[in-house]
Symmetry: C2
Subunit: 354 residues, 2 copies
């Protein structure tokens, strides 16, 4: 597919992975799941490569992350790292990226993908991706919906409508994060998919839809043509998601269901789930001494990492994360509560630790 471009959205802040994640080192720049040492964003670009080579990958990220992001993706041309002066949610991001791509490649088909997710079955993912791109090529604003494996209340859902082509369906409606009861009904009913934030479209139909549903945004994004206009215009754009701003309102919205071991890597608990374990369920550095220790995750990102020896005795289901300047110890089941630590650091003004 020679005319296909990818936009990797890499704007996350990732407080849920403190102390590894920081304002200058967000989740996508960390090796939190998958191949040892491979960052989530590098994996995102690598698994696209058989369909969309890095020369046709664009990355939207925060200005202060642009250099670190470029360093992580040597195959992506530096000019295709789109540095947002301030974060403004996904609609401005996608509008700007689409307009930029359309200028050089007016007939491009664009795949928009989050930078910080994990996918276990990469060939399976590419099959679904190819189907979504084909649907987009036919003029549909297309998304991939993940077949749910549990009644998750933390995601939005997409209700499947009528079939429109091989594996693709019209979208009946987008559904906000449901209650537990509704989520259970969705999983049982088989007509709802997880919204994974992946979007596929020809530049024309997407720009038309933005013009129709977010006309002010479309007009202002059209003014962006260089660094100066970017700095002037971008901060004033309405911070709204592409889901709310466009997808939920537009016509000809399609969804392609997929099951390829998708995971949004939401916490250290997930890192443990996706990691290789020893027989006692410990995901720990090589050489770690464990005595009656089960189900623990140890990640040592300190500069002394490789030569440091961890010893765990009689502890279970703990997360232990070390960097040069911070150490976190938390039960796996409370991994989400790392936010409380970040809140406390912010309240204290310890910005060097954020």
């Amino acid at each position: 597919m020679p005319n296909v471009h990818a936009v990797v959205m890499a704007g996350g802040s990732g407080t849920r992975f403190w102390p590894a994640s920081r304002q200058r080192m967000p989740k996508q720049l960390l090796p939190l799941a998958g191949r040892p040492g491979e960052t989530l964003i590098a994996a995102t670009v690598r698994r696209l490569a058989p369909l969309i080579p890095p020369e046709r990958v664009w990355v939207a990220t925060g200005a202060r992350l642009a250099d670190a992001t470029a360093a992580e993706l040597p195959g992506v041309p530096r000019a295709q790292i789109l540095a947002e002066p301030v974060p403004r949610n996904t609609a401005p991001c996608i509008a700007w990226a689409t307009a930029t791509i359309a200028r050089a490649h007016p007939d491009a088909v664009v795949a928009v993908l989050p930078a910080d997710h994990f996918i276990a079955d990469e060939p399976g993912f590419r099959e679904v991706l190819a189907r979504a791109l084909k649907t987009a090529e036919a003029g549909w604003l297309t998304t991939i919906g993940i077949v749910p494996t549990r009644p998750e209340t933390g995601y939005g859902y997409i209700e499947i409508g009528d079939p429109i082509a091989d594996g693709a369906h019209a979208v009946a409606r987008f559904v906000e994060k449901p209650t537990r009861d509704r989520a259970e009904a969705f999983v049982a009913g088989g007509k709802h998919l997880w919204n994974a934030g992946m979007f596929f479209f020809r530049t024309g139909p997407m720009m038309t839809a933005i013009q129709q549903h977010l006309p002010a945004l479309a007009a202002r994004v059209a003014e962006i043509c260089d660094e100066a206009s970017l700095a002037r215009v971008f901060p004033g754009l309405q911070a709204i998601s592409i889901d709310k701003g466009v997808m939920e309102k537009a016509d000809r919205i399609a969804v392609v269901p997929g099951s390829f071991g998708w995971n949004d890597v939401g916490s250290w608990e997930v890192t443990w789930e996706l990691a290789a374990h020893d027989a006692q369920g410990n995901a720990v550095p090589e050489g770690t001494i464990t005595v009656d220790a089960t189900g623990n995750l140890v990640r040592d990102l300190s500069s002394g990492g490789a030569r440091r020896r961890f010893a765990l005795v009689g502890v279970r289901d703990l997360v232990i994360v070390e960097t040069d300047d911070a150490v976190l110890v938390i039960p796996r089941e409370r991994a989400q509560d790392v936010r409380a630590v970040v809140d406390e650091l912010r309240a204290r003004g310890e910005t060097d630790k954020l």
Copy 2:
């Protein structure tokens, strides 16, 4: 008491405080209890000073610890650091130290004290010490017995005999580590004291007692007069404790009971007990973030220590110890099991971590 000398026995290996304690950094050279940053051996010498100034303190330690020990005790003359070529238990150590002191100070009264214990009530300790020295001056081989506060099965006991002077008693007998039942009977009976490994004597009576009960040892120790004779003789000495070799057999053995907050600092659990706690019972570095965390001990001995931020969320009663090359996480109540880690390191041949 101008003629009183102290011998501080600093031969311990201290595997119970791994990863802080190492072969080259045993327990007495670590700040495990008491004043912040003060090592146990420095505290031992400091609290003697009102009665026995550092110029009259001798330190018996292993040859490879001599320099580090001297550096820790700037007031102690370097020539008074007695470096044992190999460890040979307390009888050879005390015999050699006593012979060495007697050569320059034939009428000395000697106080032998372990280097790695904690004492909460230092003035109270010095009162008992003065009483023990007075008893020793009168010709008794004297020990201090700690009034027991619990039915401890890990210590030897001393049974009190007839009173002999102000606060001093003859020793009825030394008792090996008792069963739990016997220990409970000892505490209830009020006639048994903990043997804390402190000994007080005039050089003459002690050398006579060694000659009588360990004649081979006495004869060989008399040959030690320089580095060469030390290296030749010391390794061949019988490794036996002063308790078994002399105190349990000699006549005129006295004990002075004492209660001064003595603790042999046997594990990380004890370090936690003796440390300052926050309201939730955490003994952690300043600035540590705690969220629903109670009863934890954190000790960071790494070079980054002061600027590292610990965050404990939802964990209780854990010991977390960090050095530049090792990290230990263990429940407080299992602190003794750190030996298993040291055993594993030894089995693996990871000598740099021992």
